[in-house]
Amino acid sequence: MSREKVITVQDLTKKFGDFTAVDAITFDVYEGEIFGFLGANGAGKTTAMKMLNGLSKPTSGSGTVAGLDVIKETEKIKERIGYMSQKFSLYEDLSVVENIQFYGGVYGLSRKRIKEKTEEILTELNLKDVAKKLVKSLPLGWKQRLAFAISMVHDPAIVFMDEPTGGVDPKVRRQFWEAIYEASKKGRTIFVTTHYMDEAEYCDRVSIMVDGKIEALDTPDKLKEQFNAETMDEVFLKLVRN
C-alpha cells in the first residue's frame, strides 16, 4: 500500500508484574483506514489501546501515533487523537450544545471555532431542533452519533473507539457504521475495538488478539480464506480454540 502510515507499532509490550497483558505486538495502520481491533475480553485490547492513547507507558517496544512517539510525546498525541468510549461519554445533564462547547473547550478550541463546529455538527446530524435539549432526552442512536461527532470536534487524525456499539440494537448499529464510513471517506483513520464479529466485516482490516498477542491480521476476506471460514465469527472461534 502506498498510503501513509498513521500508526506504527513495533514489539509493543506491557507487563503488570509477572503478567504480560500485551505481548510484543507489531502492526501498522494506514491513513483513512477503518482498523478493527478484535479480541475476547481480557485479551489485552484495552491495554494496547491505552498505550496508543498515551494513558499507559509501554514496558518495552516502540510505536508512533500520528507521527508522534508513544513513549516520549504522549501529551502531543492526546491533542491529535479523538476518543469515544463504550459509554458514549456525553454529559446527560448538559444540553447538546453545552456538550459540544465543553469538549471544544477541553481541546482548547477558540470561541469562534467552537461556534463553527457547533453549527456544523448540529446541521450534519440534524439536531437543530433539539440543540437546547438535555442529552438524556435523546434516543440512544442520536446520542451515539453525537458522541462520535464530538470525539472529532478538534479534527483529530485518528479516532479511537472502544466498543462504540455495545448495547445498541442492530438497526442503530448499522446507522452508526454509516457515520463511521462517512468519517473515513474524509480521510479520518478509525481504530475500533469490538466484539461483534459481524461488525468486523465492515472494517478494512482486522487484527485479532488472543492472550496478549496478535494472532491474525488482514482484510476480513483474506482472513476468511486463510481460516477456511464462512464468517468472521468462525475465524474468531477457530483462532481462539487453537
Binding site: 492513547n53 494513558l55 458514549f88 461519554s89 454529559y91 453545552e98 465543553f102 477541553v106 470525539s151
Partner: protein
C-alpha cells in the same frame, strides 16, 4: 489553560444547578442543620414539668418551691401527697423530676443542720436527668445562700461559677462551629467524591483523561466550584449563628477564613481520595458516610464531649480532622485568640492535609495506570 479551566468550571456548575439532590444538600441541609441544632437539639430547657412531694408543707418549703419555679426552667406539674403517686408522672411522661421535701425541713434548715431534700429523676433519659439535677442543685444552693445571708453561718463556702466565653451556656456556641465543620466536610468531601465517582461511572472520566487536559486540572476543575460554594455556605452559617443565635465572632475574621480554607483543602483531598477508591457513586456515598460523617459527628467532640469517651475512641477522635477544626473554630470565634495559641491544632491539620494530598495523588496515579 485558563480558558480550558473556565470551560470545566462552567460545566461543573451546570451539573450542580441541574441536580436536585446536590442542590438540596448544598442549600437545604445547612439551613436545616442550623435550625434543628438551634431549636430542637438543645441542652437548655425551659418550663420542664416537675412534681413535688412536700411533707413539710410550711412557709420555708413553699418558698423553696417558688424559688425553684422562679428561674423559668421548672414549673410544678403536680403536688403529690404520697409516695405511691410518685411514678405516675414519670410513666405518663409528664414530669421529668420529683423533689421530695422532708417533714423536718424548715427546722433543720434554720438550725443549720444540713437539711436534706431528695431529688428523683427519670433515669431512662440519663443526659437530660443529669442536666436537670445540676440545675435543681444550683437552685437549691442559691436558695440556701439567699436565706442565710447574715452571720448565722460564717463558715459556709460559696462556690461562684462563671462560664467564660459563653456565660449563658448557650448550646449555639457549641453547635455553630460544629455545623460549619460538618457542612464543609459534607460539601467538600462527600459531594466531590460523588461528582468524581459519577464521571467514572458514566465513562466520561476516560474521555477526559484521553484529552490533552492534565489530570491535575481535571481534579482542580471539579473541586473548585464546590470549594467556592462551601465557602459561601460556611459564611452564611456563621452569619445565621450570629443573627439568630447571637454567636459572636470575637477573633480575627481573616484568620477564621484562612482556617476554613485550610480545612476545605483537607476535606477536598479526602473527597478525592475516596473517589479514587470507589468506582460508583453508591460506593463513594457509603464510604463518605461511614468513614467521614459518622465519626465526625460522633467522635469529634461535636455532639458528645471527648473526655467522657473510652480511651480508644478518644484516639480515633484525634485522627479526625473535624475535631481539630472545631477546636480551632471555637478558639478563634469564641475566645478570640490569635494564631500563636492554636499552633498545635493548625500544625496537626496542616500535617493531615499534606499526608492526605500525598495519598490522594498516589492513589490517583495508580488509578491512571
Amino acid at each position: 489553560m485558563f480558558k480550558v479551566f473556565k470551560a470545566f468550571v462552567r460545566k461543573e456548575f451546570y451539573h450542580i444547578l441541574r441536580d436536585k439532590r446536590t442542590l438540596l444538600i448544598l442549600f437545604g441541609m445547612p439551613v436545616a442543620q442550623v435550625l434543628i441544632f438551634g431549636f430542637a437539639v438543645t441542652n437548655e430547657f425551659k418550663n420542664t414539668e416537675i412534681d413535688v412531694l412536700d411533707y413539710a408543707k410550711d412557709t420555708t418549703s413553699e418558698q423553696l418551691i417558688n424559688h425553684i419555679q422562679s428561674s423559668g426552667n421548672f414549673i410544678v406539674n403536680a403536688m403529690l401527697t404520697s409516695e405511691q403517686e410518685m411514678e405516675d408522672g414519670f410513666k405518663a411522661g409528664e414530669s421529668k423530676l420529683i423533689v421530695v421535701i422532708p417533714e423536718n425541713f424548715s427546722a433543720d434548715f434554720y438550725a443549720n443542720k444540713r437539711p436534706e431534700i431528695q431529688v428523683i429523676t427519670d433515669g431512662s433519659d440519663p443526659n437530660n436527668a443529669n442536666t436537670l439535677v445540676q440545675y435543681i442543685t444550683q437552685m437549691v444552693n442559691s436558695f440556701q445562700t439567699e436565706k442565710t445571708t447574715d452571720a448565722t453561718s460564717p463558715f459556709q463556702i460559696q462556690t461562684a461559677t462563671r462560664m467564660l466565653y459563653n456565660p449563658q451556656l448557650e448550646s449555639a456556641y457549641n453547635f455553630v462551629p460544629g455545623v460549619v465543620a460538618l457542612i464543609l466536610l459534607i460539601i467538600c468531601a462527600m459531594l466531590t467524591s460523588l461528582t468524581i465517582a459519577k464521571e467514572q461511572e458514566m465513562g466520561t472520566m476516560e474521555v477526559l483523561l484521553v484529552s490533552p487536559l492534565p489530570p491535575i486540572i481535571i481534579i482542580i476543575g471539579k473541586v473548585t466550584p464546590y470549594a467556592i460554594l462551601s465557602f459561601g455556605i460556611a459564611l452564611s452559617v456563621l452569619l445565621m449563628g450570629n443573627i439568630i443565635f447571637s454567636v459572636p465572632i470575637v477573633g480575627s475574621f481573616g484568620l477564621l477564613m484562612l482556617m476554613c480554607l485550610l480545612y476545605v483543602i483537607t476535606a477536598l483531598s479526602l473527597g478525592t481520595l475516596i473517589s479514587t477508591k470507589s468506582d460508583t457513586q453508591q460506593k463513594a456515598m457509603m464510604t463518605s458516610l461511614m468513614s467521614l460523617m459518622m465519626p465526625s459527628m460522633l467522635l469529634s467532640g461535636f455532639l458528645f464531649p471527648m473526655s467522657s469517651m473510652p480511651k480508644i475512641l478518644q484516639w480515633i477522635g484525634h485522627i479526625i480532622p473535624t475535631k481539630w477544626f472545631i477546636d480551632i473554630l471555637k478558639a478563634v470565634m469564641l475566645r478570640g485568640v490569635g494564631i500563636d495559641f492554636i499552633l498545635l491544632e493548625v500544625g496537626v491539620l496542616i500535617l493531615m492535609t499534606v499526608v492526605l494530598l500525598f495519598a490522594t495523588w498516589r492513589s490517583f496515579k495508580i488509578r491512571l495506570e
